[in-house]
């Protein structure tokens, strides 16, 4: 038996493929009887596929620092 906090943690890890097989089994079992976590897991998974679909691109901190430095030179 796991708590809802633990279930949420496993669910989040699973979004990044970092949950172990045993963890996933525990989560599946918890979701069977816990409606809140069942809803959360569905939403969280949907959010992950939304992020994948949006194909997000970002800049790394190093790239941003470089930008900042260049802008400061102009100012």
């Amino acid at each position: 038996m796991i708590s809802c906090e633990q279930a949420a943690l496993i669910c989040n890890k699973a979004q990044y493929r970092e949950a172990t097989f045993l963890e996933k089994v525990k989560l599946k079992f918890h979701v069977l009887y816990c409606e809140t976590c069942s809803k959360f897991t569905k939403q969280n998974t949907a959010f992950t596929s939304l992020c994948d679909k949006a194909d997000l691109h970002g800049l790394s901190e190093a790239e941003k620092d470089k930008m900042k430095a260049e802008l400061e030179d102009i100012q």
Binding site: E18, G58, M67, E70
Partner: protein
């Protein structure tokens, strides 16, 4: 109406990802997209005195970026002397009645609109990310968008994994709530 003000010191932190994500949707080359974002900030600084405070800072910046993208395509087109629009019939087909009308996108097809919708989706997500607390946004970005490993993030930010997962959890919950408010039903 609330008066908007420009805060150039925070531009890179607040809008670089948002603008870059827009640019990369229009120009697939990473370096060019990055340059255009930087050009946008420079142009913003130069014309800051013309800013009337009517539009929000971000709206104003993305308007500049849109011009930059158009200028970019204009430049590469004229360089190669291809500024005119060329209409050609499909070379692959020798079918009868091979007219332009037949090559227009099928309005019932969903594939053409996919990119546009995904662009908007990306912007909506970035808008929500910008409302997160700084540290949460940083962790979420590194983990989700740049795909940095948990171990590396912990090292770089000097936190332990359970801190990281708490921040990820809060960020994801807030983002889901924000997207739900903005018409995406999760």
């Amino acid at each position: 109406m609330t008066e908007h003000r420009l805060l150039p010191d925070q531009w890179v932190d607040n809008y670089a990802d948002y603008l870059f994500n827009y640019a990369i949707g229009k120009i697939s080359d990473v370096e060019t997209a990055k340059d255009l974002v930087q050009d946008t900030f420079v142009a913003g600084l130069n014309s800051a005195k013309n800013y009337k405070g009517e539009a929000a800072e971000r709206t104003w910046l993305i308007a500049i970026l849109k011009r930059k993208v158009i200028d970019h395509y204009r430049k590469i087109n004229s360089k190669k002397g291809r500024a005119e629009v060329r209409m050609s019939y499909s070379p692959a087909s020798d079918a009868e009645g091979d007219w332009l009308e037949e090559q227009v996108a099928d309005p019932a097809s969903v594939v053409e609109n996919d990119n546009i919708e995904n662009d908007e989706l990306g912007l909506a997500i970035y808008e929500c990310i910008s409302k997160l607390p700084k540290k949460q946004a940083l962790v979420f970005n590194m983990k989700t968008i740049q795909g940095v490993s948990t171990e590396d993030i912990c090292k770089e930010l000097n936190i332990n994994p359970s801190n990281l997962w708490v921040m990820i959890h809060r960020a994801r919950t807030a983002l889901m709530g924000c997207l739900n408010q903005n018409w995406y039903n999760l």
